[in-house]
């Protein structure tokens, strides 16, 4: 067993898989020599050489687009975008090609590729360094979208993503990159994409969250349960395809539903989850399914960020409202 934080678990996953599979190449801006600005690829160039882990030119469309070409021609690229806020110049390649090559070629060409990017707010950063953009990927047919919330899951999901035959968007909650450590097996293992995890069983309310928000929700639940409520907490882990069954089963049991996310409220991921609950458990609902989300504004710079992020208090208050509805 290793004891790793989330980013170390990602590095370890890359290392383990690169050791097992020669066709994996890892690249992006500053990813090679210095191991990335967050050091997620630290040591890989030294260990596997410049051909397998390298710095690219400063051009996101080229990072994704060349990765697509490599994937078609037999490699498995795992590329890094420095921050999710800089994925936009590469979004054309992601949507119009990575997500569609299999369909366009009726299966003759495929894009088994992982596109990693740190995402989310709460690190008191410059503009474009705090975005939560999961909807922009989850709405696109042909992509899968994964977000780990623990080191253990991060490694298992990363290995699953690398082995997946289709392009996977791997969003890394950078706020908890180094927040805590966990035991992680040394060898390779897989956490299936598309499977949510029931972190805690309960009877009165179902709460779904993912990424960095999981810990905030856990803290809020800890307080609320002292009041005698029993809450079921689900870590979604895969944003697309969503594990509808697990959520619907849970709501059928609890009758109440809250989703908590960092992304902006309107047309956000919470809306999809609430709709799924409506579709699958409408008659079981004892209170309106509720979303707790960031407001529809631009993520503020550090001196205003505290206004923005959903915090433990908001979560607690909202959960109580739903419980007492």
């Amino acid at each position: 067993m290793l004891v790793l934080n989330l980013i170390e678990a990602i590095t370890d996953a890359l290392d383990v898989e690169m050791g097992l599979d020669d066709s994996i190449v890892v690249f992006g801006e500053d990813v090679g020599f210095e191991g990335g600005v967050f050091r997620a690829t630290k040591g890989l160039q030294k260990k596997y050489g410049e051909k397998r882990c390298f710095d690219t030119v400063l051009a996101e469309a080229s990072i994704i687009g060349s990765g697509i070409g490599m994937a078609i021609n037999g490699l498995k690229p795992v590329v890094e975008l420095q921050f999710s806020g800089f994925m936009f110049p590469g979004y054309n390649q992601i949507v119009t090609h990575a997500a569609r090559m299999r369909n366009r070629s009726r299966g003759a060409y495929t894009v088994p590729m992982v596109i990693r990017m740190p995402y989310g707010a709460g690190v008191r950063a410059l503009e474009h360094h705090s975005e939560s953009l999961e909807v922009l990927f989850a709405h696109i047919a042909g992509l899968k979208v994964v977000i780990p919330s623990t080191p253990y899951d991060a490694k298992g999901l990363m290995i699953a993503a690398i082995r997946d035959p289709d392009p996977v968007i791997f969003l890394e909650p950078k706020r908890i990159y180094r927040a805590f450590k966990q035991e992680v097996p040394e060898d390779d293992y897989v956490i299936p994409i598309g499977k949510a995890k029931i972190l805690k069983e309960g009877n009165d309310l179902t709460v779904v969250s993912w990424g960095a928000m999981v810990r905030d929700v856990q803290n809020a639940i800890a307080i609320i349960e002292k009041e005698g409520f029993s809450i079921e907490h689900i870590d979604l882990r895969t944003i697309s395809p969503i594990d509808r069954e697990t959520i619907i089963e849970s709501v059928k049991k609890t009758g109440r539903f809250v989703v908590v996310h960092e992304a902006a409220q309107s047309f956000g991921p919470g809306a999809e989850l609430i709709t799924i609950v409506n579709e699958g458990a409408f008659l079981y609902l004892e209170a309106p399914p509720t979303r707790i989300a960031s407001p529809d504004i631009i993520v503020p710079l550090p001196k205003g960020e505290h206004h923005y992020l959903v915090n433990k208090n908001t979560i607690k208050d909202e959960l109580e409202k739903v419980l007492k509805y």
Partner: protein
């Protein structure tokens, strides 16, 4: 190295055969067997026949849209003839000569334009990416294809095609820069047909030649008469072999002209003069090549007639097959979103299947 003294920043265009089919630069003439030349000629004529017929079919309402290649046959066939079977192609949508040479069955091409994705499922061993609609984005795939070959120590080359309009796009720039930095085996070919839909080449960029854009990447650039099949062949051959040896990418501008419409949805008379078109018709790449072949005793009127007859009957036959192919199945529409349908896709598939069954009653 034949062309390494060439400077794309001057007006000097590489030409080997002039518009009367006369070899004006015998020193640069590539060594091609008569069979090879005839094969190239036949492909060019085939493209012309297919274009002519398909545009007719479109007028008859038998096909929706089509992007003809009139005038660009030498650019396409000359360049691709310089590549090996195992070399890759990342093209846009106006590269019929390239596709036929690479072995995509005509049936497939027509099926695609007919509106069925299956047409772009490449047969085993045909290393061509499917039609790429978002302009210039295929250049990025070309660099990745080349990187992967290099990674495995294979010496395959990747030829990528783009239009003059495409050179304005950011993706063009990024790909050329990547290729130069990584020294990948890429040959980037601009089919400069003077128009991007209605927009003239001269309004697309102020660089004198498109080939000189190579300077920005520290890459060789070649400015070539795209209606001269021998010049296209010779220049591409050198670039391909250079890349194969590990000497990195080249940018080639094929100076040509789109004699027809942008697509069948376009009316070029809105934005250009008849005179301009007529002047370019005199430089027709097929006429020129034919004149040369006849002058050398390799071709004659009789063969020409027969060839056209033969090709016309092929396109007719293939198109009729396509017309009988019917609709795309519901399975096909769902089965290639992912390797395995998600549960939700399964559900959506079943719902639509049920609805269609009800409607069929």
């Amino acid at each position: 190295m034949l062309f390494d003294k060439h400077n794309p920043q001057t007006d000097e265009m590489i030409q080997i055969m002039d518009q009367d089919g006369v070899i004006v630069r015998p020193d640069l003439m590539p060594t091609l067997t008569v069979e090879e030349m005839i094969k190239m000629y036949k492909t060019m004529v085939f493209v012309r026949v297919i274009d002519t017929k398909t545009v007719q079919y479109q007028r008859q309402g038998r096909i929706l849209t089509y992007a003809p290649n009139f005038g660009q046959e030498a650019t396409q066939v000359g360049s691709i003839s310089a590549a090996n079977k195992s070399d890759w192609v990342a093209s846009a949508f106006r590269e019929l000569g390239v596709w036929l040479h690479k072995g995509i069955p005509l049936y497939n091409v027509l099926l695609y334009w007919y509106g069925n994705e299956l047409g772009m499922k490449m047969p085993e061993g045909v290393r061509v990416l499917p039609v790429n609609v978002p302009i210039a984005s295929q250049f990025q795939h070309a660099t990745g294809l080349a990187y992967a070959s290099m990674y495995r120590g294979e010496d395959d080359v990747v030829l990528a095609y783009v239009g003059d309009g495409g050179t304005s796009h950011g993706e063009f720039h990024e790909a050329l820069n990547f290729a130069a930095v990584k020294n990948t085996a890429n040959v980037f070919i601009i089919q400069n047909n003077q128009y991007a839909i209605s927009t003239k080449r001269t309004n697309q960029t102020k660089s004198r030649t498109l080939a000189q854009k190579a300077v920005a990447y520290g890459m060789p650039g070649r400015y070539v008469d795209g209606n001269d099949v021998f010049a296209m062949y010779a220049v591409t051959k050198e670039a391909v072999e250079n890349a194969r040896k590990g000497n990195g990418p080249t940018l080639i501008e094929a100076y040509t002209y789109r004699l027809g419409a942008h697509t069948t949805a376009d009316d070029p008379t809105v934005y250009r003069d008849d005179e301009e078109v007529k002047a370019w018709e005199k430089k027709d790449p097929i006429d020129r090549f034919r004149k040369y072949l006849i002058s050398q005793g390799h071709w004659d009127e009789e063969k020409e007639k027969q060839l056209i007859k033969e090709k016309e009957s092929i396109i007719k036959e293939e198109f009729e097959k396509v017309e009988k192919s019917g609709f795309v199945s519901l399975e096909d529409v769902f089965d290639y979103t992912y390797a395995t349908k998600t549960k939700l896709l399964e559900e959506q598939y079943n719902n639509i299947k049920a609805r269609e069954a009800r409607e069929a009653k």
